[in-house]
Assembly symmetry: C2
Homo-oligomer: 371 residues x 2
């Protein structure tokens, strides 16, 4: 089985493997049975993913001797809230699962965050396995143990650090994603190059088409991404330091998501991150940290794969720059009143900048979004 | 300051101190400031506790240089649910507290469980300090990190293991409890003697009046109780083994609480535990594990302090024995279908019995509750 690779996440007694490859749903039952010993699981998924893949997974589990109860939620970010959390948690309890049994998150980032959080609180912690079905979830949200929901105060402000026991990233499933959704996930792949792997970014510039087409480059790109994230998480599981690097592009990105009211017709998370990464590079140029050539190279590559790269690429009206600045200040990555940003000295040279002057950010935003 | 003692809870990087003594609310501001460095807190409390003690605590915090936001909930078990959890968590976020800031649980067991759970999930984990105001909370629920809420499926089925950074048990506050509430907490004090400290139980038989009257025996009894619980928790934080001993009396007790619909006019938690501990001893006699003399001694002491000791002591109608049995089977302490009970070989000799035959429990219940 050459089309499979394993990335270990090293977190002491919370260590686990990420399996990446073709045909992994077929082997999900045997892998879960062998690695966890579980015989009963709940599968949390959304109606779209379930329509395409639930029977496949259920059959595979059954072949591995595992009985499963599906728990389906409405697709979309709206399901990441207290109401659905309560529904899913109660459904896990209704299924009479015990502490050693397993909750499987089977879907994209919303499902992983929601199901992982429910798994962490049901009986004060059930077993948990991630089977991410979007590129974004495979390379980002399923790795590292951040789970949670949104509230009126912002995204992901309520949740738990809760590691899965196993992640199965079946790369075949990605063929059922829309091109737009695949591209959005690709923004997070590119992010790892931009954080601290300049060679990987250069490799992506040459090989991105193979990733999109499902060639062997796809498994390789996902594996490098998961390894990158696993390395950061192993150094800083609870985000007291280095883990913040993973937020490259996210401070601007979240502000834009808030500004578009999380309307996925206008902007999805990965697109916000793509624009945010370009802005982070441009802002770093403005702060005399990075070269304009590097910022242009980032913009060119992301535009080349079809991602939006500027605030003007977002369809519809946006609030003025000072309002965007308010959203940034409200973001959770505010430590004791000071603004913390991920800035860069060039491709693959990102760093955590604390005490960034809010006035500099505002004047940059006014330049990029003059109205 | 001879009227204060410290019990350390040893849990590696989650270790903390329990301070027990007179006048601790007066010193809360300085202790919290010195030990956590926090300058901003939310105080989660209920309206009854707030009316009596909130100003006192707020003044003390202010004197320690700490700014506080009160978050008040309706008194009673009904507040331990998803709806109030959402309200409290949102109020913590509204107060703009950051990760290093602190949520103080200021009240009895309900407040400690609810506020601790909210602290664990708000921003994926805030600082947390317990200031328990009931005897039950001081000797039991504030120690050991179990937090959570109830659902339609049962008590405490949703929650987190989340350790506080500090517990302040002010023994003066207990003078404002009703005699019934104090007695109910005393059942958990006696429990530690019955689990594995026969000398402590004998000491309680002689010194209980001093504990009720607020003599120096009170601080001593609370300290021994906290130490007992801390020892068990240090051995088994996540209840995979020994920690289950703390459930002595709780399996029967929870069934009786369910049977009375958690109507505190009929039965409060500590009363259920008192009856449950007597039943656990009597059932152990029936199973030829313990002597009838020990069971009678337990019953006599608990009755002497004014606690209910039999199913017949509960006012109003109760469902029949086979229904009580159903409640027991639904309790979360069911591992893979087998009944697990805490039984005893005599006072201070409790042990975890797995695979207790349900038929033996049912016939014992029919004997004790013939209808």
């Amino acid at each position: 089985m050459s089309e499979q690779t394993t990335v270990p996440v090293k977190l002491g007694d919370r260590s686990y493997d990420i399996l990446i490859g073709s045909g992994l749903i077929d082997r999900a039952g045997q892998e879960i049975a062998a690695r966890t010993g579980a015989r009963r699981v709940a599968i949390v998924s959304d109606e779209n993913v379930a329509a395409l893949h639930l029977q496949h997974l259920t059959d595979s589990l059954k072949a591995g001797g595992i009985e499963s109860t599906p728990i389906l939620v409405t697709p979309g970010e709206k399901s990441k809230g207290f109401a659905t959390l309560e529904t899913v948690t109660n459904a896990i309890l209704s299924a009479r699962l015990e502490r050693g049994d397993i909750v499987i998150a089977f879907g994209g980032g919303v499902i992983g965050d929601l199901a992982g959080f429910a798994a962490s609180i049901a009986r004060r912690g059930m077993g948990f396995v991630q089977i991410p079905t979007s590129l974004l979830a495979q390379v980002d949200s399923s790795v590292g143990g951040k789970t949670g929901i949104n509230t009126a105060h912002g995204k992901n402000l309520v949740g738990a650090f809760y590691q899965p026991q196993l992640v199965l990233a079946d790369t075949d499933v990605l063929d059922t994603l829309s091109p737009r959704e695949f591209r959005a996930g690709y923004a997070e792949v590119a992010k790892y190059g931009l954080i601290d792997r300049p060679d990987f970014f250069a490799w992506l510039e040459k090989n991105w088409q193979g990733i999109f087409d499902g060639g062997p480059e796809r498994i390789q790109a996902i594996a490098v991404s998961c390894q990158s994230k696993a390395d950061v998480v192993a150094r800083d599981e609870r985000e007291t330091g280095d883990r913040a690097l993973l937020n490259l592009g996210h401070t601007f990105g979240h502000a834009l998501e808030t500004a578009t009211h999380y309307d996925s017709a206008r902007l999805v998370h990965g697109e916000g991150v793509a624009i945010g990464m370009v802005l982070a590079h441009q802002f770093s140029v403005k702060m005399n940290l990075a070269s304009d050539d590097d910022a242009k190279r980032v913009e060119a590559h992301l535009r080349h794969v079809g991602l939006p790269v500027s605030i003007g690429d977002i369809p519809g009206e946006l609030p003025p720059a000072d309002k965007l600045m308010d959203y940034i200040a409200q973001d959770k990555k505010v430590a004791r009143g000071a603004l913390t940003f991920i800035l860069t000295r060039g491709i693959g040279q990102s760093f955590i900048a604390r005490d960034v002057p809010p006035s500099a950010v505002l004047s940059f935003l006014q330049e990029k979004h003059p109205k």
